[in-house]
Symmetry: C2
Subunit: 402 residues, 2 copies
C-alpha cells in the first residue's frame, strides 16, 4: 500500500451542486463536506476550485481483448457476429500475453478517472481458463487502484461448445465474480437451455449474472423475459444484469412498458454503451420505470471494434448525443449512469463527494457536471478510497504484475 | 501575411498509404511527394515520421451561435424545434458580441486541424444582417488561417417572417457565399413557396444553396425531391447541398434508392453530423450511388445543443460509431467525408498530400488514417496553403479582428 499518497482533506473544490467546499476523508471514507473544514489540516490536497465528481464506473469492458498500445491492426472480421467470434479465435495466437495488455488498459482507464470496472473475460474450449488467470493477476496488481469485477464470459457460446459449461463453473471457483452468457437464441439456438445452465451455476456458486443480449426483435425480447423470469424464481434481484439489450431500443411502446416494468420488479439491471449503430435502449424511460441503468465502454480497440477509449466521460457524451440529451438535468443522467448508477449496478458501496461515501473522486476543470460531459476536460486528480492514484491522466504508482 | 511560417518542405512524414516521404511545397501547392526530396532544402519542417492527413473540412457550422468560451449556460429550450428557435431569439440579447465569440471558435477549430469550413449565419427580422457583418469580419481576420464560406441562413423561416426574403438577398449582396433555407414544410408550411424564393435569389445572385432539412418521413422526402427538381431545372449541379436530410436515414429501400439516384444525377450533395438522436443518412450507400457526402460538426456548444467540439476527427469517429464502421476502408470513408469529400462539397481546390494539391495538411501521431479516426491524437502541426497556422493545438499567430 502506498500510504504516502493518502489524502486527509481536499480543500476548495466545487461540488456538483455548485457550492465551494472542503472534503475531509478518514480511512478512505468521506467524513465531512463543507466550507473551511480543511484550514488547519495536514495532508491537504488543494482542489484549486476544480469540480469534484464521483469516480467513474465502467460497467462493461473486455480487458482481455484489447489491442490498445499495440501497433495498428486493421479490423479483420466480417459484419456478422459469428465472423467476429471466429476471427477473434484465430487472432489470439498472434497477440502478446493478455495480462500486460489488460493492465495497460486498466492504467489508462484509471488515468481517465475510472475507479471501478466490470470486465467480461473469455472462457471457451480453445483457451480454457487462461484469460481468467491473466485477469485475476491484473485484478490483484490493480487492487489499490480500482475495483475490478470479472465476469466469466462464454463468448463462443455455452451449449454449442464442448466443456464450456464446466469451464464456466471452474472460472467462478477460480475467482470470477459473476457468470456471463450470450444470445441464447442466436448463439446456442436454445433460449431455455442456456439460461437454465447459467442460473443453475450462479445459484450453486452464489454469484450474480451479466448476460450479453444483442439479439434484436422478438428473440431479444424473449431472452429478456427469460432472464427476468429466472431472476424472480431464483430470488436474485439486484444481482442480474442485461448487457446491451438492443431490442429495447427498437421495441414498441407496449412491449417496452411491459419489459421495463418486469425488469424493475425483478431487479434486473441494464448496462449500455449507447448503441452506436444499434438502437440505444431508452435510458431515461427505463430509469423512470425503476430499472437500474448504467454505462460501460464495451470494446476499446479490440478485434470487435477499432473504436473506443477508456474514457467514461466520453461514453457519457456518446449516450447524451445518441439520446438527444441537452438540459443540465439530462446531462446529469448521462453522468449518473457512468458513476453513481454504475456503482449501484455493480453492487458497490456508495461513493462520491458525500458524507459516508467512499472517497472515490475525480477532479476536473469544469463549472458543472453538465459541462464536464459536454467538454470532457482532463482529469487533474483521481482518488481511490482516499488515495491519489492518478494526476493529469497518469498513474502516481505504476501497476506491477506479479 | 506571415511569411516567416511558410514551409518549403515537410520531411520524413508518413503518407496515408503508409510510405515514408518528404513533401515539397511551392506557392502553397504540393509540387513533389517522395523519399529523400527535402535533404538539401531550406525551410524544412521535420515531420518526425508523423502521419500526414488532408486538412479537415467542417462542412456545417453555426459560428454565430456558439457559447464556447463563455461561462456555462444550461440549455434552456424545450425539445421542439420551435422552442429552440424562440429560446435562441430571446437569449441573443444576453450574449457578448458575435465576432469575438465566433473568432475564438474558429481559432479552436484551426488548432484541431480544420483548414476549410462552411458556416451558416442567422438572418432574420430581429437581427437583420448584424450577424452577417460579424462573420464577414471574422472571415477577413481568419483569411490566412482557414477558408470560410458563409451561408445566409433564415433560421426562423423565410415566408413566415416579414422582410426575411429581402434580407437574404441583401446578405448575399453583402458577401455571403451561399443561400440557406430551412424545413419549408414544418417552418413555413409551404414547400414550393420557400424553395421557389430561395432558388430565384440564388439564380439571380449566382450563388449556391445549402438548405437545412430536418423534417422526417414524407415531408422530408418531398423537400429533398423539391430541391433536386429545382437544382436540375436551374442547372445548379454541384452547387446545392442538403444539410442533415434525416429522412434518408429512415427511408425504406425503394425511397432511398430513388432519392439517392436523383440526388446523384442532379448534383445535390448531403452534409451530415452523424445524426445523434436522429437517424443518420446511410453515408456509404449514398456515396456508392454517386452522391457527394461530407461532414460537419453543426452545433458546437450553442443554444441548440451543449455538446460538440471543433474537432472534425471526433466527428469522423462519431460517424463511424453511428454507422458501425470497423474496417480500415470504412474508417477511411469516415475520414474522407471530413476531408477530401468536404472540399469537393464546398467546391474548393483539391488539397492534401498529393502533387498539385493545395498544401492544407495536418500532422498527427498515428500509423494509419484509420488509427487517427479511432484514437484522435493531438494535432502536432497544421499547414494552410503551405503556412504553419497551428502547432500542438494552438495558433502560431492569433486571429485579430479589425
Amino acid at each position: 500500500m502506498v500510504t504516502t499518497s493518502s489524502v486527509r482533506a481536499l480543500s476548495d473544490v466545487r461540488l456538483p451542486s455548485g457550492e465551494q467546499a472542503d472534503i475531509l476523508i478518514e480511512d478512505g471514507i468521506v467524513t465531512a463536506v463543507g466550507p473551511g473544514l480543511a484550514a488547519d489540516r495536514a495532508d491537504v490536497v488543494h482542489g484549486a476550485r476544480r469540480l469534484v465528481l464521483p469516480g467513474f464506473v465502467d460497467g462493461h469492458m473486455h480487458l482481455d481483448k484489447t489491442l490498445t498500445g499495440l501497433p495498428w491492426m486493421p479490423h479483420r472480421a466480417g459484419p456478422e457476429r459469428a465472423s467476429r467470434i471466429e476471427t477473434e479465435r484465430r487472432m489470439r495466437a498472434e497477440l502478446p500475453p493478455v495480462a500486460p495488455r489488460a493492465a495497460r488498459l486498466v492504467a489508462d482507464c484509471v488515468g481517465h478517472g475510472t475507479t471501478a470496472m466490470r470486465s467480461h473475460v473469455d472462457v471457451d474450449d480453445a483457451i480454457g481458463l487462461s484469460h481468467v488467470a491473466a485477469l485475476l493477476a491484473v485484478r490483484e496488481a490493480a487492487a489499490a487502484h480500482v475495483d475490478l469485477q470479472l465476469v466469466a464470459f462464454p463468448q463462443s457460446g455455452v451449449l454449442n461448445r464442448p466443456g464450456v459449461r464446466s469451464l464456466l463453473d471452474a472460472a467462478i471457483a477460480a475467482g470470477c465474480d459473476l457468470l456471463g452468457g450470450i444470445d441464447p437464441v442466436a448463439i446456442d439456438g436454445d433460449l431455455d437451455g442456456q439460461l437454465d445452465v447459467l442460473f443453475a451455476i450462479a445459484e450453486r456458486r452464489g454469484v450474480g449474472l451479466d448476460i450479453h443480449l444483442h439479439d434484436p426483435g422478438a428473440a431479444g425480447m424473449a431472452e429478456i423475459a427469460g432472464v427476468v423470469e429466472r431472476t424472480r424464481v431464483h430470488g436474485m434481484a439486484g444481482h442480474v444484469t442485461v448487457s446491451h439489450g438492443f431490442c429495447l431500443g427498437a421495441a414498441d411502446d407496449s412491449d417496452l412498458e411491459r419489459l421495463a416494468a418486469s425488469m424493475a420488479e425483478a431487479g434486473v439491471a441494464l448496462v449500455t454503451h449507447g448503441g452506436g449503430a444499434s438502437p440505444m435502449p431508452p435510458v431515461k424511460r427505463l430509469r423512470e420505470r425503476g430499472v437500474t441503468v448504467f454505462a460501460g465502454n464495451d470494446d476499446i480497440r479490440d478485434p470487435w471494434s477499432p473504436l473506443g477509449t477508456g474514457d467514461m466521460l466520453e461514453r457519457a457524451m456518446l449516450i447524451a448525443w445518441r439520446g438527444g440529451y441537452r438540459t443540465d438535468a439530462d446531462l446529469a443522467v448521462a453522468l449518473d449512469v457512468a458513476t453513481t448508477s454504475g456503482a449501484q449496478g455493480l453492487g458497490l458501496p456508495r461513493h462520491g463527494p458525500r458524507v459516508g461515501s467512499r472517497a472515490d473522486l475525480v477532479l476536473v476543470d469544469a463549472e458543472t457536471p453538465a459541462e464536464a460531459v459536454a467538454r470532457r476536460p482532463g482529469r487533474a486528480l483521481v482518488l481511490k478510497g482516499g488515495r491519489v492514484v492518478a494526476r493529469d491522466g497518469a498513474l502516481t504508482e505504476p501497476l506491477v504484475l506479479a
